[in-house]
């Protein structure tokens, strides 16, 4: 390989000073012009040979391109897809992939909206002709799908709808209430007095509300009717005190409040304990409308001001200054949206899913009515056009804690690749230094280093890495633990590279250029690391490429077993932890399929590149 050196210098003294890596990369990326056939026998450098062989194989070029694309993707995308490690939401658990949460059906848009209600990750709408539509993630369990609208609802002319977390209520023009969905906690079992043929006297229904596991109905003779899971929410109702006075209501996750005909907000239940039922003095008079978020309630007063009370955690109570009187207010899970007299729309609260980013055309157009819930907002203008903003859905769905799989995939990829790359660097440093020293000096030094290498390589890899990680990683931060994993992987995997470098060293140290360097009095360290090592780098390249794949694989295996990077920090390995149960594998396929696919493709590409490089280096494969 001494031709290699002669070849590159090519008479220019400047090139000689360059660092070996930069020279090497330069040659890799910008090979010299192809030599003519007569010169080839003498002048073709081994490196160029390798590159030519490598690029003549279409498979390896494809693999290289795909791998570079994946690498660029996982290193660039995290700058745009930020990861919130503390992020989790019980209502967003196992949301299937797709941006269809606010995809309003065309028929609903065409026929005109009579009512829309937003439930957990899905929405229900009724058009002016009485048809009901369900869109979004309407599947509650494997068998229950809220989009399976019962026939009697389809036949009736529905005027109002209400969407709870897993059940839907609908009201037709004759005053009949329908309910469907999950009935595990009797959410859809209507109380007997609501059955049309069972009513003690004739009454109509003014409003229907559905929440998590319970429902509220306001009749037009000013009564409230409640049903659902009483263990979850306090559903008692002071009938003797409030009957005949209730005009409206609002539901939060676990409580409800009522609005009376004299403009007071009252707590309807007997033993009120939640913060929402402690109604502030400001909401006790001249209230026009009420609404609820997940843990708070809001009242719109006749003077156009808004009062928010309850357990506000994400800024629901930080009401911005309005430019004019508010005329309508609706609550989502962690936000409120208010329409003002001057036509503008204001949102406040949590903006995690962009539910506060009111589009510009909403303010411009004349909004007539708004429907808000969960993380979604719908606004209908006077032309009947529906404007939407908020959470559309998740590209790759969410996991068991309601975390965005796409964000975790991207950031986990960055983590896995970084750990893989850095552990290979550690492996390279140890392997090349020790291999170089052992091979160059031989004798006792070689013996000692090789014995150490044998001890290290005879240790069972995965069990040993597991115990090291378990013992060393107990009292450190996630970041430190990440570095510990890299060092463990590097320290346990250097012997292979060390042996390779040593063997190459044996061959190189007798070569003329080394003898020449020795004769010139070049220091031994310099001979090893700046004369010989650059010449054996091409051979080591295969080993390094494959080692990168192995490191990624080992890291992910360790993380999968729970001894790598700990949760909640994502890596491709620990994202697959827990995916080995049939429920997740079958019902929540997006939790493992995407990660598995991208990781599998990345590993296959690295191995293909490594194999092609090995073939390219093999003189027997040159076919000459």
């Amino acid at each position: 390989m001494s031709e290699n050196q002669k070849n590159t210098t090519n008479g220019s003294a400047k090139q000689k000073k360059e660092f070996f890596l930069s020279r090497w990369i330069k040659r890799l990326l910008f090979p010299n012009k192809e030599l003519d056939i007569y010169a080839e026998e003498q002048m073709q450098s081994p490196m160029r040979m390798v590159i030519r062989n490598f690029f003549s194989n279409p498979m390896s070029v494809i693999a290289l391109c795909v791998f570079i694309m994946i690498a660029l993707f996982v290193f660039i995308a995290p700058h745009f897809v930020k990861l919130d490690l503390g992020e989790q939401d019980s209502t967003l658990v196992f949301v299937s992939p797709g941006y269809d949460m606010m995809k309003v059906p065309a028929d609903l848009q065409k026929n005109g909206v009579a009512d829309i209600s937003v439930g957990r990750n899905y929405s229900v709408g009724a058009d002016k002709e009485g048809n009901v539509y369900v869109w979004g993630k309407s599947k509650v369990t494997k068998v229950i799908d809220l989009a399976d609208i019962p026939d009697n609802v389809k036949n009736a002319k529905i005027v109002k709808v209400a969407a709870g977390s897993d059940h839907v209520l609908a009201l037709d023009n004759k005053g009949t209430v329908y309910a469907w969905g999950n009935n595990r906690l009797r959410q859809t079992t209507l109380p007997s007095e609501l059955m049309t043929n069972n009513r003690s006297h004739e009454f109509g229904i003014r409003a229907i509300y559905a929440s998590d596991q319970f429902s509220l109905v306001i009749t037009d003779d000013n009564r409230a009717i409640l049903w659902g899971n009483e263990n979850f929410a306090d559903l008692s109702y002071k009938a003797d005190e409030l009957d005949g006075h209730v005009v409206d209501g609002a539901v939060t996750n676990t409580a409800y409040v009522l609005l009376t005909d004299d403009g007071r907000v009252v707590c309807g239940s007997n033993n009120a304990s939640t913060p929402v039922t402690k109604i502030p003095a400001a909401a006790a008079f001249r209230v026009k409308a009420i609404t609820g978020s997940s843990n708070t309630a809001a009242a719109l007063k006749e003077d156009g001001s808004v009062v928010v009370w309850g357990a506000s955690t994400k800024g629901e109570d930080k009401i911005p200054a309005f430019s004019s009187k508010a005329v309508e207010i609706e609550g989502g899970r962690y936000h409120y949206t208010a329409r003002l007299e001057d036509g503008s729309v204001v949102s406040w609260g949590s903006n995690r899913y962009k539910q506060l980013n009111v589009p510009a055309d909403v303010t411009k157009s004349n909004i007539e009515k708004m429907y808000v819930g969960s993380f979604q907002n719908y606004a209908i203008d006077t032309d009947g056009k529906i404007h939407t903003w908020g959470l559309k859905g998740f590209l790759l769905g969410t996991d068991g804690l309601g975390r965005d799989v796409y964000a975790r995939l991207v950031n986990g990829g960055k983590m896995t690749m970084t750990i893989g790359a850095l552990s290979v660097v550690i492996e390279m440093i140890i392997g090349i230094i020790l291999g170089g020293i052992a091979g160059y000096f031989g004798g006792v030094v070689d013996m000692i280093i090789m014995r150490i290498a044998e001890v290290v390589s005879s240790m069972p890899f995965i069990p040993f890495a597991m115990i090291l990680s378990a013992v060393m990683g107990t009292k450190v931060t996630v970041e430190q633990r990440m570095y510990i994993i890299m060092v463990i992987l590097g320290i346990l995997s250097w012997p292979g590279l060390c042996r390779l470098v040593r063997a190459q060293m044996f061959a190189q140290r007798e070569m003329e250029y080394v003898v020449a360097a020795k004769a010139l009095g070049v220091k031994e360290g310099k001979i090893i690391f700046s004369h010989i090592i650059p010449n054996v780098m091409s051979v080591c390249l295969v080993s390094i490429t494959l080692a990168f794949g192995t490191s990624m694989l080992t890291e992910s295996t360790l993380s999968y077993l729970g001894f790598g990077v700990p949760l909640p920090t994502p890596t491709w390995g620990n994202m697959l932890t827990g995916a080995n149960n049939s429920i997740i594998i079958q019902n929540y396929w997006w939790n493992w399929l995407f990660v598995g696919a991208i990781f599998g493709v990345a590993c296959i590409c690295i191995n293909l590149i490594g194999d092609s490089l090995r073939d390219a280096l093999d003189p027997k494969a040159n076919g000459r």
Binding site: M459, P460, A470, G549, L576, F599
Partner: protein
């Protein structure tokens, strides 16, 4: 040869003790105090000075105050215990598991049997498939069928074992419903004899399939490479030049020679499967094997069990390396060992 084997065995023993000392030292980094665990309930009933005195006495009695090397020697069985008896690893005392409340020796018998069955069966099946396949690939090298198999093997050895496991659970257990998703036997079953064995094998089938699948790729490539190397030898050319039939050339001259180097790599592959692959598989399939035992012991910080298992893994690995080297010299007399 005898001298070489003796030298290697001595070397193995030295390495084993070096590794075990390292493991013991690492294990001692964990802050744990069995004396404190015993004495903690008495803290309220005794006077502080009296408690302190008893605590120190207990520590002395347990040998916790001794220096690291001495404790190691006691644990290994080189030195007598405080009570004057030799009770260490070498005497067969592998420690006491806190999570199982039993001696480690009693715990590892069943998992060991499961792991051995798992590895043994999967190894045999893998070899039965890979050797003919590798030979076929080498004979038909660079033809479409070979290229296809090569592409398949790259996929096979690139995918992490647990991913293949998850994929196969999806295919065979969830979708086709042929095999159970995990476990070692039908819950609540009281089979005996052949039925019990059949039930166990039924539960082990999917893990075996996964192990075979992940092992296929690497072994096929090894066999193919060895066979291709042999086919390019001069004696094969001579055999062909003599006018021998291709079948005779391949099945009488080439493949026996090709399998010599392969037999050594089988050993190395088996070690890696035993210590790495089957550990992942057992965890994925909740199969009661040594790998899963090791994993759960680490998770429950049952360190005496972990340490014993670690010693076991180290021993398996070292003996495996020794056998690999010995088999290499046995099958290929050209390899000179006594320099």
């Amino acid at each position: 040869m005898k001298k070489y084997i003796l030298k290697r065995i001595i070397y193995l023993i030295i390495v084993f003790f070096v590794v075990s000392l390292m493991m013991y030292a690492i294990y001692n980094l964990i802050p744990s105090d069995p004396a404190m665990v015993q004495m903690e309930p008495l803290r309220k009933t005794l006077k502080p000075e009296e408690w302190q005195r008893q605590y120190q006495a207990l520590r002395d009695q347990m040998g916790l105050n001794a220096p690291l090397l001495q404790r190691y020697a006691r644990w290994m069985g080189f030195m007598p215990d405080v009570s004057g008896k030799f009770e260490g690893m070498l005497q067969g005392n592998f420690g006491y598991s806190i999570s199982y409340k039993r001696d480690v020796v009693d715990i590892i018998a069943t998992p060991m049997l499961n792991t051995i069955i798992l590895n043994f069966v999967s190894t045999i099946i893998t070899l039965a498939i890979t050797i003919p396949l590798g030979i076929y690939c080498a004979v038909h090298a660079r033809k479409t069928s070979d290229n296809l198999i090569q592409a398949g093997t790259v996929v096979g050895y690139s995918l992490p074992t647990y991913l293949v496991g998850i994929l196969f659970i999806f295919l065979f257990a969830v979708w086709l419903k042929i095999f159970p998703t995990g476990g070692a036997k039908t819950p609540g079953s009281t089979y005996t004899g052949i039925l019990e064995f059949g039930d166990r094998m039924y539960y082990m089938m999917l893990p075996i399939i996964v192990l075979v699948f992940t092992g296929l790729a690497g072994m096929t490539r090894t066999v193919r490479a060895a066979m291709m190397d042999t086919l390019s030898q001069d004696y094969i050319r001579t055999a062909r030049a003599k006018g021998l039939k291709e079948k005779v050339v391949i099945y009488s001259h080439a493949w026996r020679n090709a399998l010599l180097p392969v037999s050594t790599s089988i050993m190395g592959w088996m070690i890696s499967v035993f210590t790495g692959g089957s550990l992942v598989i057992e965890t994925t399939f909740a199969l009661n094997g040594t790998g899963r035992l090791y994993w759960s012991a680490l998770n429950t910080t049952d360190y005496e069990l972990v340490l014993a298992m670690q010693m076991f893994y180290t021993l398996v690995s070292l003996v495996g390396v020794l056998l690999t080297d010995l088999s290499y010299t046995l099958v290929d007399p050209r390899v000179r060992i006594d320099k």
